[in-house]
Symmetry: C2
Subunit: 247 residues, 2 copies
């Protein structure tokens, strides 16, 4: 048995996330495993760095699997790409040590949230960016974001979900950068790990602060509260993209 790591790009618009919650849902894992079965003629389990929710995109989702094969990583990548549907593609393929595990071996992950901040929506970005037509103060958002960088208990930003909530809610945000490029705002967050819907809850809170619904100073209180009710709304899934996973 050999262990492989592949890097996946997928357009989340057509998927009910990485892993199925219910029956008959189209998932990235489902599509990938059905193609792995065709390539290796045996069921192969695909393990992602983490589950992405319905509508969330990936440019750099890392996935590991084991297979008894003589195929080289590049051959596997080409075989998968020739069979995978057009909204998911393998960008890289490498052989890794047998103890590598795409979920447990993660060192850090980077997510990008994209906001289209102008008066009218976009036909091209309809599934890729949050359309937000209200004025946003970047200085206030950046000042509020600074409170989140470092090692903190992010319980206030963890979604209620008995199946996905974690007890240990301390994480380290290594980088939180807000960039404005024309009418687009990119919120890039790198951390050693993320709680369920943590990025979307942080983005929702930053938007509330940027638009003036919440005062800038409020961010420190929200963090201290360790209560989901203290933070802002959850930003929609379609603006979110998993950019990179480091091991």
């Amino acid at each position: 048995m050999k262990t492989f790591k592949i890097i996946l790009e997928y357009d989340g618009a057509g998927f009910c996330g990485w892993q199925a919650q219910g029956q008959g849902e189209r998932t990235v894992q489902g599509e990938l495993e059905s193609v792995l079965l065709k390539v290796f003629k045996k069921p192969v389990m695909a393990i992602a760095s983490g589950r992405t929710d319905s509508g969330v995109h990936a440019r750099g989702q890392a996935v590991s699997f084991k297979a008894d094969t003589r195929m080289k990583p590049l051959e596997i990548m080409r075989a998968l790409n020739s069979l995978l549907p057009s909204d998911v593609v393998v960008r890289e393929g490498t052989r890794v040590k047998s103890n590598f595990h795409a979920q447990y071996s993660v060192k850090e992950k980077t997510y990008r949230y994209t906001v289209l901040n102008r008066g009218y929506r976009s036909a091209f970005l309809r599934d890729r960016a949050l359309f937000y037509p209200y004025s946003l103060n970047m200085t206030r958002m950046r000042r509020a974001a600074r409170h989140l960088v470092g090692r903190h208990d992010f319980k206030s930003f963890q979604a209620y979900d008995p199946l996905r909530a974690e007890r240990q809610t301390v994480r380290t945000i290594k980088k939180l950068a807000l960039k404005k490029e024309g009418e687009l705002i990119f919120i890039d967050i790198t951390a050693d790990g993320f709680l369920y819907k943590m990025v979307r809850n942080i983005v929702g809170t930053l938007l509330a602060i940027g638009s003036g619904q919440l005062p800038t100073e409020k961010m420190a209180d929200i963090l201290k509260a360790k209560d989901r009710k203290a933070a802002g709304e959850t930003a929609p899934a379609h603006g979110l993209c998993l950019m990179q996973v480091k091991y």
Copy 2:
């Protein structure tokens, strides 16, 4: 009656082009006119700068129409955007002189053709760029493109189509620029007018030259031949986007 000009952005992937060829096809004109009917309570005919084919995108399609209304252009734009489907949007709206005609008044148009030139396809660009995994020589393509700039008979680049072929096939290409940005190649063409499938036929020929299937010098011969058979294949529709129309 007042005359208005609007600038439309649309994702061509979900449309059978601007205007229907057959019954029951989803078209941009059809979607727009059904919304114009709702806003003005009367049938309103929408005239585009030109028909875009099935799968072709637009960032700056110009459309004119006449309506008996007290609404201001910005109000019309907002009303249309609130009713139009998510893959088409009005970017600008202005009132114009009554003799303005979006098709007949055109001075120049700019199209962009996008090529993804790398070894593996993209989930995000699957409907927006031509995936071309073979090596392309930009110098050769640029040298060949130079032959096309200026006033020429472009008959060799006009698609056969008894309904859309034009007798007068002389046009002026004002600008033809090839840009490489990472793995993307942009081919931007500005002309006073375009023959049917002219951009896609030029792009197909440039790709044949860039990949070495045709010699660079061949471009001058193709132009002289005034015969569609002399030129390269028609590049697929989904890489093409109407960027701007000038009046």
